[in-house]
Amino acid sequence: MDVLHNLAFGFEHALTLQNLMFCAIGCTVGTLVGLLPGLGPLATISLLLPLTYSIPTGGALIMLAGIYYGAQYGDSVSAITMKIPHASSIVACIDGYQMTLKGKTGLALFTAGVSSFIGGTVAIVVLSFLAPSLGEVAFLFGPADYCALMLVGFVCVSFVTTGSLLNGIAMCMVGVLLGTIGTDVTSGAQRFTMDMPFLADGVGLVSVALGCFGIAEITKNLDNHEDRSPFNGKIHLIPTWAEFKRIIPSALRGSAIGSFLGILPGGGPVIAQFAAYAVDKKLSKYKHEIGTGAIEGVAGQAAADEAAARTSFIPLMSIGIPENAVMALMMAAFIIKGIQPGPNMISGHPDLFWGLVASMWIGNCFLLILNVPLVRYWLSVFKIPYNVLFPAILFFCCVGTYSVNNNLDDIFITATFGLMGYVFMRLEMDAAPLLLGFILGPMLEENFRRAMLLSRGSFIPFLTRPISGTLIGLIGLFIAWQLIAFVLQTRKASASRRIPPIAPEVGVAKE
């Protein structure tokens, strides 16, 4: 009953008028961000990071968390009504859009909203039971174990977000290298600063995130010249009892899958949705309908999406290692506020931890109201043309960068990273692992140096310690599997085509 007591304590903090307001702001902004193209949760959280300096710690964290899970609610709306996928609603485009074609938009939106609510609720229960006990385990971790855990995170995130291990790992390493710019903590030496004083503190996180995600994303949308036709159909929200009954089992399955996958390193909403959709296709009573606009095709993935978004807070808050790029940004937000996430956080700042958990449930209720009865008003957001939107987003990027240090020079750094992000995007290299590497890089270096100091320069403890040994073994297995898969694939390809096609010489002189 400890948990209930703690939750009651958390609600005391979350239900103050001020925190309710921050929660509502976070959820509203999150929904808006989820709906709009060109601003994902990553860019938004980094935009608002500087604005939270003047907000009390609890409120700031509640608001930022609200943006993250709110965005997961919002993005299924655009997927269902217009087949516009965002970062994490690719699956909702399949059955959700089919339902719109059948004229059941209202039912699809209702299903997505209610399933997300169920997913969120299940995940909060998991979070409140698991995070404290996982925190106990974290006390067993030594520097070598932390290193190994971060490496597992890099490998998983690289594979999940980019689909190609090599690309992802490369981006992680670029991020780690960018993270070494600035003053070395141990020796005080200035590294890679090119004698520029403003680089002595390192490159700003907000500049990297806004450049690689904000600016690059805006330019991508401008390049695509996408014309979106707003949704004008009728929405009938209230389902029949028979339809409602079909939502529940699928949503519960999705919640369980999402809660589990959210905890694993590299996990998060995207992979959880695909898994939930695949499981529904195998197990559901109506599996023959999935793919043609079935309720289950929307319910399962929406619940998994939302559940995973919340359980991904568990590794961050109990071990102190973020498992994906958004969580890495959340960690930066904690640190800016002077709190080191990790096993000591729950005992040291119980009001923050339990307040955040309780606020997630309150946010869940806000989002249900925002996304089910009020959904038709949100759809008018799509009527804003992108030509109006993008100068505004650019302006927010500038203000966000500037207000970190009240320094206009930072905008030039953001612009530099914008160019870098654009080049990487055009080379089809995802910048999410870069951001994770950038934030975890300094931690990785510190723990690596500490582990090596303890072992007197020997790598053996990495393999002999039970936790790090297991984790490094997993990485080894994974890399071996990737290598074998690649060799088999090239053999197959070279057997099927003897003569490689000669690439035509167009598009070279585009510059």
């Binding site: 070494t180 100068p391 203000v399 030039f412 055009r426």
Partner: protein, 140 residues
């Protein structure tokens, strides 16, 4: 340079060389007492390895054309830098006006009236940031 996979590898090799060669100028130390240069050197060596692997692999897989369109990114970056410069030497309101009008070249259509409306909206938001959230924006 007409193969995306090759360009990828070359970009990574370039990054790894910039960081790797520079890190040799700091003291490396040894593993038990790592100097400031050791960790960046290790990471950039690994990155070099990955880059070389990509270049080698590019010879075996099908070529893909890199798809660079420099017009829009140039417009966006110029408007950002222009905003920063004008905000410093004149004031931020002028910066906003410049940014909106310049960035709009990248839009699908150009309309002076629309730009004026966006400017008015953004200046209002900037004042709200300054007065309500206490950001110190050099607006005028």
């Amino acid at each position: 340079m007409n193969d995306r996979n090759l360009v990828r590898g070359l970009v990574l090799i370039a990054i790894s060389l910039v960081f790797g060669l520079q890190s040799l100028r700091y003291s490396l130390g040894d593993f038990s007492h790592a100097g400031p240069g050791l960790f960046p050197f290790m990471v950039s060596s690994l990155l070099l390895l990955v880059g070389v692997t990509m270049v080698v692999r590019a010879q075996f897989v099908e070529r893909v054309h890199p798809d660079f369109k420099f017009r829009n990114i140039a417009i966006v970056l110029t408007s950002l830098c222009g905003f920063a410069l004008i905000s410093r030497f004149v004031n931020m309101i002028a910066g906003i006006v410049f940014m909106v009008f310049f960035a709009s070249w990248a839009a699908t259509s150009y309309s002076v009236v629309r730009n004026l409306k966006i400017c008015a909206g953004l200046i209002a938001i900037a004042f709200a940031f300054q007065k309500l959230l206490g950001l110190s924006l050099p607006l005028y």
